[in-house]
Amino acid sequence: MQEHAIRFENINMTFRAKRKEVAALRDISLEVGRHTFTSIVGPSGCGKSTLLSLCAGLKFPSSGRTYCDGQAVEAVNTDIGFVTQDSNLFPWMTLRENVEFPLRVRGLPARDRRARAQSQIDMVGLSGFEDHYPHQLSGGMQKRASIIRTLVYEPDVILMDEPFGALDAQTKMVLQDELLRMWSARKQTILFVTHDLTEAVALSDQVVVMSGRPGQIKGVFDVNLQRPRDVFQIHGQEGFARSYQQVWDCFRSELLAPEAPASVTEISA
């Protein structure tokens, strides 16, 4: 059995903008253990979402390799689940059709599709809304739908890109709580990108702090908080303040640091 679910190996990524070569990611090496919950935090534009795209096989590095389940990622990775910031539900499909979609492309018979989708829909309390189109659902309901559309095909690795970013504070906590319960039941490997340090510490086993462009790993911190955790009372939980402070100290120096000028080099014509 492979030790790591995801491994980034010496990832460098550059892109061209207006005749300049801009480094987006520099020398990233990171290992994500199986069945762990890992968060990546960093200032906006640091390339943390790009790391998820590399793992999903939607983008590829300029040099270095990404491994998922021991396999180098060289094409779209359909073994993982990817929950994005926008819920990305298909607007022309009902809730049920959306949740059944990944099962349909996997060729499951209609009856199995229906049953598996229904049990997910019931689990997150969306029963009664099966025949609603996405625009008829609230933001929180769309987010739940988007998450169960991923859970329904039972990927072992789930990538989440600021999934709760656009929600109000209460809905966000409720969904964080639901996510933790769900995860403790199935123990998928979750790689979770956020800019919210409290969220990162509250949910994760491990928090990765990235620096601004070019994105580099600044620190990796273990969060030794007892589980199950109560996200509604997380500030009161023993050890939270210490873990938060560790991550914040690392993160803060990044916010105050001047922009690194060495990241941009002119391409000679």
């Binding site: 779209v76 607007p91 979609f101 689990m123 025949d131 609230s138 309901m141 769900m182 039941a185």
Partner: protein
């Protein structure tokens, strides 16, 4: 996992709701009365102008006379040696076949232009040239190739529909959200599924705008073709009426034309509403 704070289904009209008979009647009255009043006033004024000699009956005819002729043609009276039903049959066939052919080709090529680089490189300049060309200039060519008759009309109608549907499909497909395509691919969808279940539905609103505009383009194509070279059809009949200074027949033809184009636009409108039932509002 527990279910938390799920709001009840929102109020408002949903699928399955039905209007009551009284509601339907009031809607019809609300929407139907103002245009009807306008029609009565305008036609009344027209009739009055002719009756008082303000307008010459030989130029604009007389609403009452047009109504009489319309009634007679419905009962089979011939105009210029042909029953109106024959002419209508020719024109309707040319329009419907032309519309269907033009739409089919427009959707397929519009999709390929947007998604397949090779197709775009090969066809783009020609498509732009044909789009810019006034299609009426091609009618003589089609008559040479297909002879005088329904085929030339149909091809002309198809070409006009083709261009508008092609452009609307192209823009719809080109602007299909990349993140939805990416989401589908990560969930395991292959090329065919991405096309049929993501790209085409995303392009559908735009395609239907083109198809709706295409209805009047099909009429323009068929009728202009009949004006120029034909031996039957509604456009041919109106051309004969013009040559014979028969304004009553001309207006009768126009009325049939208006009714026809309205009917077809309604059909496409219903199709649009059904296909886009997932859209807001």
């Amino acid at each position: 996992m527990t279910s938390v704070s799920v709001s009840a289904p929102r109020s408002g009209r949903r699928r399955g709701d039905r209007r009551t008979g009284a509601e339907t009647l009031s809607v019809i009255l609300e929407r139907g009365v103002p245009p009807l009043v306008t029609a009565v006033v305008l036609i009344g004024a027209w009739q009055l102008c002719v009756a008082t000699g303000l307008l010459g009956a030989s130029v604009v005819s007389e609403p009452s006379q047009i109504a009489v002729l319309l009634w007679h043609t419905l009962q089979g009276q011939q105009l210029f040696g042909a029953s109106i039903w024959t002419d209508l049959g020719v024109t309707i066939r040319a329009i419907i076949y032309g519309y269907l052919i033009g739409t089919a080709f427009g959707i397929v090529l519009g999709y390929l232009l947007a998604r397949v680089d090779f197709v775009a490189q090969v066809f783009q300049p020609y498509v732009e040239a044909i789009a810019a060309l006034p299609k009426i200039a091609l009618v003589p060519l089609f008559v040479f190739i297909f002879g005088i008759g329904i085929t030339a009309e149909m091809v002309n109608a198809a070409l006009m529909v083709f261009i508008i549907v092609l452009f609307s499909t192209f823009s719809g497909v080109a602007s299909a959200p990349e993140q939805l395509v990416a989401a589908a691919r990560v969930m395991g969808a292959g090329r065919w599924t991405v096309t049929s279940r993501v790209v085409l539905p995303a392009a559908l609103p735009s395609v239907l705008v083109g198809m709706r505009a295409g209805v009047s383009f099909a009429f323009v194509g068929a009728i202009t073709s009949e004006f120029i070279a034909a031996t039957s059809g509604l456009g041919w009949m109106m051309q004969q009426a013009t040559a014979a200074y028969d304004t009553e027949a001309l207006f009768t033809g126009l009325i049939y034309l208006v009714v026809l184009v309205w009917l077809l636009a309604q059909v496409i409108g219903l199709l649009q509403a059904w296909l886009l039932r997932w859209q807001r509002g």
